[in-house]
Symmetry: C2
Subunit: 176 residues, 2 copies
């Protein structure tokens, strides 16, 4: 749980990164920006800032804002009811992102983990620079870290239901 | 049908608008950019420049690039096989867009039509400035025009199949 003050501070920082990337959001979107700390209480290290543009029963689009070296922890999107799990495309808009999925372990990966390293188990690295993207099949374990200058990632996907995500780290609580 | 030279010229112009908006695309995306003239042979007046980021059987994401006052002609997305028609969200990233859907006719609309005016039948205006967006229900008649400075629109949607679109203008051929 993070304080209201911390939340406001991180929203302001996120807006600065959006401005650097030339991405405009509305006042309502700013107000509703999600500061996800995954229940770990260290949002600048393990966390994610999210603006949901649209999420309906067919598709979803979000902007993910990341501080320098911030990590989105390892998780997957399992099937929900009769539907296959969320399929998603990450498109780097600004900065640099290191995305990890299952497969052969990359030697000398770019990511640097400070906390809870034991809960990051997939190390097949995909580097995304502005204009580059990667589409994850549903139910694929993945995690990602921003580079030294932070990052903005557009996420295009099928419908999103965060509460059904399965995280590797048992200490994580995605939705309060 | 437009010439290869015209196509290259319009791709170059599109890239300039993308650069103004701070949006990066890859060389492959540039190469594959679609210059749609809808078979009318006046692409700068009625036309659209399209970069498809992702189109799979669940969702689709595109960047639409529009020249000053360029018009995307009136059409709708009907049901395909057993699925409801394409549902789509238009998010203005740069410039200004005037979107028209069915409903009460707007007095003094912003759009100015030069050609084939008789095939524009819905006049309920939605003005989109950077950061503003609008989600169209499936099978809704719509068309749009960029403002005087051109525009970039991110389109988030369910799966896209251009060849099934239904246009009001009988002279239009969407896919060659």
């Amino acid at each position: 749980m993070i304080t209201k003050e911390k939340c406001e501070e991180l929203k302001k920082k996120s807006l600065e990164i959006l401005k650097k990337a030339g991405i405009v959001i509305t006042d309502k979107e700013y107000k509703e920006m999600e500061i996800a700390d995954f229940g770990l209480g260290m949002p600048e290290i393990i966390g994610l800032e999210i603006v949901v543009y649209e999420n309906n029963d067919r598709y979803c689009a979000k902007e993910l804002i990341m501080f320098p070296r911030q990590v989105c922890p390892e998780h997957r999107h399992p099937p929900v009811s009769s539907k296959p799990g969320k399929q998603e495309t990450f498109r780097c808009r600004y900065g640099e992102v290191y995305l990890y999925v299952s497969g052969g372990k990359t030697k000398n990966p770019k990511a640097v983990l400070k906390e809870r390293k034991e809960y990051f188990t997939v190390w097949n690295e995909i580097i995304l620079k502005p204009g580059q993207q990667y589409t994850l099949p549903h139910n694929t374990l993945h995690w990602f870290q921003a580079g030294d200058g932070g990052a903005i990632v557009s996420e295009f996907s099928s419908s999103s239901s965060d509460e059904t995500d399965i995280f590797t780290d048992p200490g994580i609580k995605r939705v309060e």
